[in-house]
Symmetry: D2
């Protein structure tokens, strides 16, 4: 299931080492899978994730400003649109069912783990170039893709987190991952040539990717702490 997000992503993932599994097989994720995650942890996570998506959409919009081709702009602009008009809407709906309005969500105090992650990604873009930003964006996009694909393989009827799992296991989200993977490959080929791992810029991309992955672990830790 991991082979279709392009070739750059798996190289960066493998270079990240064990932190990738710490993220994608975190206790929070296993709690989602088994249905044992406390409701309070899930809701606390959702509220923070709403704020996360706002800033993640800002980071994809920053990518539009740093693209070098119209094709790159189109993929990034479509991702911004999907985030602010679809994915955020799912959070609003789920939270509304739990009695939280969108203004509750938008006005919630951001957790430091959330600030650390989102602002790090934005700064990767501001301080570096398009690839730096993509490397910081990739762990969330593709990590959720891997988690969704794995958890979606076996969801019993009445599973308490079936909706969440279906979102990331679903074809629509998996297609986003494939498109972002293709965008990343094309962007890397354009800027670093056919052997990116042999260029001086590769270590910087690995560092960006690994740092963002570490911050994903921190985000799950935050989620657990709400439980």
């Amino acid at each position: 299931m991991n082979g279709d997000y392009g070739t750059t992503f798996p190289r960066l993932r493998d270079a990240a080492g064990p932190v990738w599994a710490e993220y994608t097989r975190h206790a929070f994720v296993e709690g989602l899978r088994e249905g044992t995650l406390p409701r309070a942890a899930f809701l606390g996570y959702l509220v923070q994730d709403y704020i996360f998506l706002v800033h993640f959409a800002r980071a994809w919009a920053l990518a539009v400003t740093k693209a070098e081709t119209v094709e790159e702009m189109r993929t990034c602009a479509a991702t911004v649109d999907a985030l602010v008009n679809t994915e955020i809407g799912l959070h609003v709906k789920t939270c509304a069912e739990a009695g939280l309005s969108e203004s509750d969500l938008f006005g919630a105090e951001e957790h430091p783990a959330n600030l650390a992650y989102t602002r790090y990604v934005l700064d990767a873009g501001h301080s570096g170039d398009f690839l730096d930003l993509l490397a910081a964006l990739a762990p969330c996009v593709m990590g959720y893709g891997e988690i969704g694909a794995r958890l979606g393989q076996d969801v019993a009827e009445g599973h308490p987190f079936a909706d969440w799992i279906a979102t990331y296991a679903g074809e629509e989200y998996q297609q986003v991952c494939r498109e972002v993977g293709a965008l990343f490959d094309t962007a890397v080929a354009r800027r670093l040539g056919p052997a990116p791992e042999a260029t001086p810029g590769w270590a910087r991309l690995c560092h960006r990717f690994t740092t963002a992955t570490r911050l994903e672990v921190g985000f799950w830790e935050m989620g657990v702490s709400f439980g």
Copy 2:
């Protein structure tokens, strides 16, 4: 026809003084209206305008990163999407009919008048806040709306620029102007309160708006120079 783009825009337009008419009633515009604009001027303009739209879309994407509410993000993201997926496409189509491919367009050398305008708008965003950026974006959006509305009132059959005029006179584009006008009004009320003209920030917005309008005049001058 000028009353429906909100209240902030007409105040800034009136504060700009005669330069607004120099822009919206420029010889290039009158040449479009009368159908007398040399074809070379029109095509040279279209090529530069394609590049303009690329950077204008980048500026609207920057606005997404500087928005303070999800509603502001949504309007700006929709505008980015309309630019990169619709308006740019119109230029590509018109230019293709004249034998110019999209890669010809993307690879054309940017004219200094184009660089001056687009990079000024982007810098208005980077150096200031959301309102600074909107004030620099507004003259293009609404000026083309006014021009389109005026020129669209009387287009004879077989008019050589009927397609161009129809684009900006059309309901779809006029709706964009109304939405941007409403966005601007709400954003100003949120940040400057109910009497924005009495705040110290107002002079800065007027300066941004007027400078961008001057740069629109320079853009038409460039177009004329191609004829």
Copy 3:
């Protein structure tokens, strides 16, 4: 001792409420004052603070790009220079005495509390204007000024943290605080007028200031965790 950092800072500090004391009278600070802070906590803090200063200098450089007057540019540029050429040097010297080279410092892994704080400040600048950035910069500058002034009142001979205390209690650092305070007052008057607290922008500045103060608390917590 708190009256000479201008008038904007104390207003924001008072609006922040109890979190200001949580920051300036944190257990880490009291450990510095009493000389009881574990050496490991101090050194761990110094390493992270070196990285902090690198990004804090970047944020002051961002302020140069967002200034509206040459005078504003000069103060911000002088602060960047003081940070990269003096304050960072002090950390290098202290750490060298403990056997840590500058490349050890620069290459240390950033703690999430550090990422959260520094990237939040940078994003305050990128998403907002000059005042947003100053509001996020002020808690560190002036908080250390207050802490230094208080701790410097009574330092026994041989105090283990005498050098650190002397840096922030010293006339040179206190002068920086007064200059930044004056810069902030002038910048606020220029942009928000004579009654800034009555403008819609004030709440945003309070929010920036308070969030940065919360993140200072997190930074001390990180320091304690190294002990």
Copy 4:
């Protein structure tokens, strides 16, 4: 005289082709050399160049935010400081002798050629990485170094532009060029490796450098137009 600004600069200069001579041997420059440039052209240029330096200093400050090493930060910060505290001061002094105050200078309307150049450089930084920004900054820094070195070889007593020539011919400015040249070489080696011309990124740097050089030509054209 051209050999001591490092190795990256001459490669980019040579790749730029004839536009480099159009810039460094422009009629405006020859008028300075021969002392025949109309006073009005010189003063008009100085006023615009004052505004240019303000934005050029902003661009060097942006470079501080995009640096990857403390050494890079130090050189860029020192350049910002030299610009806002020394070079701008020279313009203020020369203009004061001609009856223009600093507030006249700061408040002057920016010429489109000035907007095009400065905002292009800033956008090179925002859209790209540290190297993109340096490539856009280099033509001004080193071009003035070459011009100063050439014009300084033979300045008769009482030459009307002796002060201007002495500024750029002087050891202090030449030293800045050598330091920026060394910074550029080190930054390129760090990011593109030992054979930068063979990397995909090289064409982008050439394009940045050449565009900025074209905009320098436009700046001299503006100066001539004031005469």
